[in-house]
Symmetry: C2
């Protein structure tokens, strides 16, 4: 299949959002499907986006005193079953190694779906005294969850993530850690992904298996559906009791530790696609983009253009931006489509006329605005434009989010709002209402809203309202 064909073959976003999404994943060369349903190949361009996220988070984790570690891929089944709530949540989704090339195993090994039990077991061995606390570990790895319905980046049988696991002497410290990490994720959205997250606490029903509290960052996709984009869990000392993670405090008393865990995944790549992308392809937030500026010479067989290329390269190099000069023999129009598809934030075009006039044309991917920039202002203008594009993208996503949070005082109003897409705020009678709403509409409670009740009666059950929730249909 020719490249030109590839570019043209992307479905329109407004015609079929789901197909537009998967087309884009493949055709922007972010990923490819493997031979096993639900396992994807992270191609260089997709993996480079993940590496940008890793770089951002590794810096933040280090600043806040966290250390990277690596624990085993496998969990013995007996260890996995030590924490009852946790096993119930994950057991159906586990992939299990039962045999080798030579022998069947004496004990079945679960491929980690998440590593709480491995960390808990390790902590029970290395923690002795209050002097050993807090322990602030993070792990970058892949995990396996046997999901039936899969979709690139959003839900897969294997995905890449980081999982932080910490142990603390007090409840207060553990809770502060839970919220600190939620806050780092929120800033990741604001500073790197140009995505405004709604942050908040999950209801009991939506909580992580084994956690006492789950906090979440939720993003709103262009099609009006919500996407849980990361979570931070406070475990209390449930795991500590199940795994005997005890420390001697200052008075030589033996006490269980308090734990947290928190993670974001390659799902964030999906969020970026679905928040910012358009009919021409990806629109990458500039601080995240593997290529921030692409320079494309026009009539590149002309001497004047050939001579200008190293000068452009020198300017680009001086900015410290991630750039590419595409001087290949393909047509400029083909290149424009290609880099639009790949969502490169800024494109520089320069032909003989531009060089004569000592300027270049810069095109912003997000607005397609064309700006003529004098050559000697290019080095200072590019970083400014990068920031402009980031801010514009963030503000656009924020406006979309804010205009799609609606309040419902009746169940009919709720259903009507839901059809518009986005979030609907409603005060309800707890879990009973959540279950009913889900059954009737497919929407789920995304976060608890810490505000006064909107209505005293729950519009769903007719009972006394006791909690305000933000509902949405979600990925």
């Amino acid at each position: 299949m020719s490249k030109e064909k590839l570019v043209k073959d992307v479905t329109s976003r407004d015609e079929d959002f789901a197909k537009w999404y998967t087309d884009l994943c493949v055709k922007a060369e972010l990923m490819d499907y493997s031979n096993v349903q639900g396992f994807i190949i992270y191609r260089p361009y997709g993996y480079a986006i993940w590496e940008q996220i890793q770089n951002y988070l590794n810096k933040e984790f280090k600043k806040t005193g966290h250390q990277n570690v690596y624990l085993p891929l496998v969990i013995p089944e007996s260890l996995f079953q030590k924490e009852k709530d946790h096993i119930e949540g994950f057991a159906p989704e586990t992939a299990i190694i039962t045999t080798t090339g030579v022998d069947d195993l004496a004990e079945r090994l679960i491929v980690r779906p998440t590593s709480e039990v491995l960390f808990a077991d390790h902590y029970s061995k290395i923690i002795n005294s209050y002097r050993d606390l807090p322990i602030l570990y993070n792990q970058w790895c892949s995990v396996v969850r046997w999901e039936k319905t899969t979709r690139p980046f959003l839900r897969g049988k294997e995905f890449l993530w980081q999982e932080g696991h910490t142990a603390h002497a007090t409840k207060e410290e553990a809770m502060a850690e839970t919220l600190q990490m939620l806050n780092i994720y929120d800033r990741l959205g604001k500073e790197l992904l140009a995505i405004p997250f709604i942050t908040g606490k999950k209801t009991d029903k939506e909580r992580f298996a084994g956690a006492e509290e789950t906090y979440t960052i939720e993003a709103l996709m262009h099609d009006g559906k919500a996407l849980q984009s990361g979570t931070s869990h406070y475990f209390g000392n449930g795991f500590a009791k199940a795994f005997n993670i005890l420390f001697q405090d200052e008075n030589n008393e033996s006490k269980p530790v308090y734990q947290t865990s928190w993670g974001v995944t390659t799902r964030l790549i999906g969020a970026v696609i679905m928040v910012h992308g358009d009919n021409e392809g990806l629109v990458l937030p500039p601080h995240l983009a593997p290529i921030q500026v692409v320079a494309i010479p026009i009539q590149s067989n002309r001497d004047v253009v050939i001579d200008a290329i190293p000068k452009i390269e020198e300017v680009l190099e001086s900015t410290g931006l991630r750039y590419k000069v595409d001087n290949s023999d393909r047509r400029p129009g083909w290149k424009f489509s290609e880099y639009e598809m790949k969502g490169v934030p800024l494109r520089i075009e320069f032909g003989p006329r531009d060089i004569e006039n000592k300027h270049v044309v810069v095109v912003k991917r997000n607005t397609r605005e064309k700006i003529t920039v004098p050559f000697d202002e290019l080095a200072t203008t590019l970083p400014k434009l990068i920031n402009d594009v980031h801010n514009e993208m963030y503000e656009k996503a924020k406006a979309h989010l804010e205009s799609n949070i609606r309040v419902a005082k009746t169940y009919d109003e709720f259903k009507a709002h839901l059809e518009l897409g986005g979030y609907v705020k409603m005060s309800v009678h707890g879990e009973e209402a959540e279950l009913q709403v889900k059954e009737d509409t497919g929407a789920t409670a995304r976060v608890i809203v810490e505000e006064d009740l909107i209505t005293n009666t729950c519009p769903v059950t007719g009972k006394k309202a006791n909690i305000t929730l933000l509902f949405a249909r979600a990925y």
Copy 2:
């Protein structure tokens, strides 16, 4: 168990090298054992060493045009069996997922022991034209091989590594790539690990399953045993034919690609321990060390010392070195032992007397030499000492290597040399001699020596010698 006890408990290196090694792995907090035999926990200090190796290689890979990707953890059994030699080599060592928390799988999934077949399958889909070549990919991940005898870092059921996989239009290009990557590994030894490698080609018998040529980097451990520390394979077009990886050349002819793969693993951490370590613990090469300088105040309750700490920190910060100031309430003697155990290359001691005399004492971990450094020369002296320590460690390892390569003209001489440890060079009659030597002595051919024959007759078989090999007992 108290820390003091831990430090004292390490076995002497010369008494029991194997026990010294595993003691050190645990007590320097590089790793811990998990609940599944052969799967280890990479603790923060051990993982930080691996991250230094990753940083070095990622820069080199990028300079040479390679891109990182991530392919699935699992290989369908049918795909795995497509390349006959390869499957024969790896089948006995595979771990196999056969079931999930809900259902048995229709097809068994091999947990990747290496990813040649996954890359080959992917390449068959994304390569069409000579314009798509070369493809230069690298992957950081863990792999699983069901080894019976395991030892931390050296041989495990799971280990961390990078695996490069490339595809080229010509044999020459692929061979140049194979050698280029071998050369990068060799420089990694010289520049980061302070380990001189012997590089060369493996014999047919020792070649990687499915490869046409395997090149290796081999290191000599302190106990005289060799350690294969990395490999670079030239595949020819064996995989390309088995997986139908074809491209259209400039004349529109369909041709199979030529491939390479190359990798180093966390085994390198084991090499560093066994080449440089001593009875006091690790001795880390300074460019690799997670902490390059540790500063320890003496009588740290004295005001003059308390006042000096931020000044020392300021100097350390200005050097750009990775440092730690340990102002905890433990005794200085305890701290000295701790950081010696952890192999920190430079230790700064400063007490009231030092501060009065406007100097500090710097102790080199490798030689235990104490150097008095005037305070105002500290910022310039430290980076110089870091380089000195690196060079001294490299030269020491090189001298050890060079004095342990011996030549044998008779089989008795060979056996006598072998008992001294290190390598023995001998001209032999190919594979027949290799098998005999292994049976008689346990030694294997490490590399082919590209020199004139030493003897015309093979001392092992009595037949005509046709190849010169470097033999050693190896891990």
